[in-house]
């Protein structure tokens, strides 16, 4: 009861027929996964614009950010001031453009501090286990239970307000998340036979952690760092809005919302435009993070 089957195609060219899996680039695959979805690309464009704007702020801003012009205060958007002016007559657009610098500097510094410390602690906790694990993780639990706002207030009241202290406060407050993530990832990476094999060949602990474990634990961290940048910018805006962040007159989006909301009935653009900037950037980082998560997904790697 078997029917004849046959393929009506050309004879084989053996030279073209590779016996091994064809070489293919992991990077290329990741880019194509990332670029194949619209939202991550939009996120990428937003973040790229943010970085460009921050770098070229002096060339893009029509006015210096702190140049006051009391006579022309609280102007609605017009041709000379595209987004109007605030209560001190400063150009809103210029302040938003300069505010991107503040946001980025704080975002990057805070993430650098919190990730470096958090990753190191998480790596140690998971790699050594036992008492070290318990001490570090209980400390992180305590840190997480402590509201970030309270911590920032504490630091601000101890060290005073200002960019440096905000970075310290947020930096400490955000250690727990990368630490816990790292700990979880390392606990699972540690199970792999290649870690066992590295131990069996006599590799030192430090080398094992840096060479075998860390690179394999990195992808989820990258995603978290990206999304974390958005969270930090949002947190900084919140602190500045409450007036315990960056000291005036430095342009910050959170501070601008704070300044503007008193005039929300008369000049809504003052509060809304920096608010939109915050929203866009946080959205951008989140979308970028989501795209990275899909692109770095090991389940999608190497599958046919």
């Amino acid at each position: 009861m078997l029917e004849k089957t046959g393929r009506d195609a050309k004879p084989v060219d053996l030279a073209k027929w590779s016996e091994t899996a064809p070489r293919y680039s992991e990077t290329k695959r990741m880019i194509s996964v990332f670029a194949g979805r619209p939202l991550p690309v939009i996120g990428f464009v937003i973040i790229a614009l943010l970085i460009l704007v921050a770098i070229f702020a002096p060339f893009l801003a029509p006015y210096p950010p702190n140049q006051m012009d009391i006579i022309n205060k609280l102007q609605p958007p017009n041709t000379t001031h595209l987004l109007g002016t605030d209560s001190l007559g400063r150009d809103t657009l210029s302040r938003i453009i300069y505010g991107s610098r503040t946001s980025l500097i704080i975002g990057i510094s805070v993430i650098a501090i919190s990730s470096a410390v958090g990753i190191a602690l998480g790596l140690f906790a998971a790699y050594f286990g036992g008492v070290i694990y318990h001490v570090i993780m209980r400390f992180m639990d305590a840190l997480m239970a402590f509201p970030m706002l309270l911590l920032a207030l504490l630091v601000a009241s101890l060290l005073g307000a200002g960019m440096k202290n905000i970075i310290i406060a947020l930096g400490i407050g955000m250690i727990a998340a990368p630490c816990r993530l790292m700990c979880g990832v390392v606990l699972s990476v540690k199970q792999n036979d290649y870690v066992m094999s590295a131990r069996a060949m006599g590799m030192s602990n430090l080398r094992l952690m840096l060479q075998e474990i860390l690179p394999n634990a990195f992808p989820p961290l990258l995603v978290m760092i990206t999304i974390g940048l958005g969270a930090v910018i949002l947190a900084e805006a919140g602190l500045s809005f409450l007036g315990i962040g960056i000291t005036p007159p430095t342009a910050t989006w959170g501070g601008m919302v704070n300044d503007g909301y008193k005039f929300v009935m008369t000049s809504p653009v003052l509060a809304i435009s920096p608010g939109i900037a915050i929203m866009l950037v946080v959205f951008g980082f989140n979308m970028l993070g989501d795209g990275l998560r899909d692109a770095l997904d090991p389940k999608l790697r190497g599958v046919i």
């Binding site: 078997l2 029917e3 089957t5 009506d8 004879p11 053996l14 590779s18 016996e19």
Partner: protein, 330 residues
């Protein structure tokens, strides 16, 4: 008597990121009543995908059943919607399947009794009382001690081997005509494997069910199967009675397979293993000629020039897809 299940020229393709994968490419086979059939091949040869295609359990996308007929009890199953009513009334009830991962095949939050009676109530419209009675009977048959008391237990309260038995009971609960066991014993130890296969054999004889054992283990098919299909890269390369395949293998792949597995009782001093050279082909963008050609030790010019030959009857029920005739190259 016509076969219970006839599959003609089945083609299942997967559209993947790296290209078209012809996982099953023109497979035809029959399952007769009360027969134990073995389907052997290495990973990626399409043995599991063929069986899943019969039940239309291929997730689409990326999978797609491109062509073919699956004639079961006189009707072509492929004409029905995969998620339609007809297919669900056949799946589990008329053709049952046991999967590779026994641990994940049972729902952890439902009791064993509930999971087993559900099929009976849905497929055979039994009332809860008689369904329960039948389940107790089934559990007793598969060797679960204190079957009645265990009905209200949850899967995690059973050991691995017991869960496998529950799976077998579940598969047989609606009295299916065909039981397909997809690598049923890959994840278990040899002694458990022996227990389960013996049980399965007993059960299909008792229930007059046909059994299809899909496996990579040549020993298992030699022990249990009456008829065997050997698959290689999406095609059947040889089929026949167990004795045909093991005592008089004709396809170079089958011959190679038999030479490369160590046999119990043989040490390396007595027989060195003869491996099949090379690697299984990459299924993406395959050439039209015999897929085994690059690894074949008896390849001839005709193999390179002509497309993959179709299965030819040799004698009895022994079919082979190979240009065997003509002068052999030394």
């Amino acid at each position: 008597m016509p076969p219970l299940l006839s599959v003609y020229n089945l083609k299942t393709y997967f559209h993947t990121y790296r290209g078209l994968v012809k996982a099953v490419d023109g497979v035809s086979f029959d399952i007769n009543e009360k027969e134990i059939v073995g389907v052997v091949g290495e990973s990626g040869c399409g043995k599991s995908v063929s069986m899943l295609s019969v039940l239309q359990l291929i997730s689409s996308p990326p999978g797609e059943i491109v062509d073919g007929k699956v004639i079961f009890e006189g009707q072509d199953l492929l004409q029905y919607q995969p998620k339609g009513e007809t297919m669900s009334s056949i799946r589990g009830a008329r053709i049952a399947m046991i999967f590779q991962e026994p641990m994940t095949s049972l729902n952890p939050v439902l009791t064993i009794g509930r999971q087993l009676t559900e099929g009976l109530e849905v497929h055979l419209s039994m009332n809860p009382q008689s369904a329960r009675e039948r389940v107790v009977e089934l559990l007793r048959l598969v060797g679960i001690p204190d079957a009645k008391g265990r009905l209200d237990a949850y899967p995690h309260q059973f050991s691995g081997g017991m869960r496998q038995r529950v799976m077998i009971a579940m598969a047989l609960s609606c009295n299916p005509r065909i039981l397909i066991a997809d690598e049923p014993t890959t994840a278990v130890d040899v002694t458990t494997q022996a227990q389960l296969l013996e049980l399965m054999q007993d059960m299909v004889v008792r229930f007059k069910t046909s059994l299809v054992i899909v496996t990579h283990n040549l020993g298992v098919v030699a022990r249990y199967a009456e008829r065997i299909y050997v698959m290689y890269s999406g095609r059947i390369v040889e089929s026949g009675l167990a004795d045909d395949i093991f005592l008089n293998p004709l396809h170079p792949y089958t011959i190679g397979l038999l030479k490369c597995v160590p046999q119990l009782g043989e040490t390396r001093k007595e027989r060195k293993l003869v491996p099949i050279q090379g690697l299984p082909p990459n299924l993406i963008n395959m050439p039209s000629s015999c897929a085994f050609l690059p690894r074949c030790d008896r390849a001839r010019d005709i193999c390179r020039q002509k497309p993959w030959p179709s299965l030819e009857l040799i004698e009895g029920q022994h079919y082979v897809a190979c240009f065997r005739d003509g002068p052999e190259t030394p």
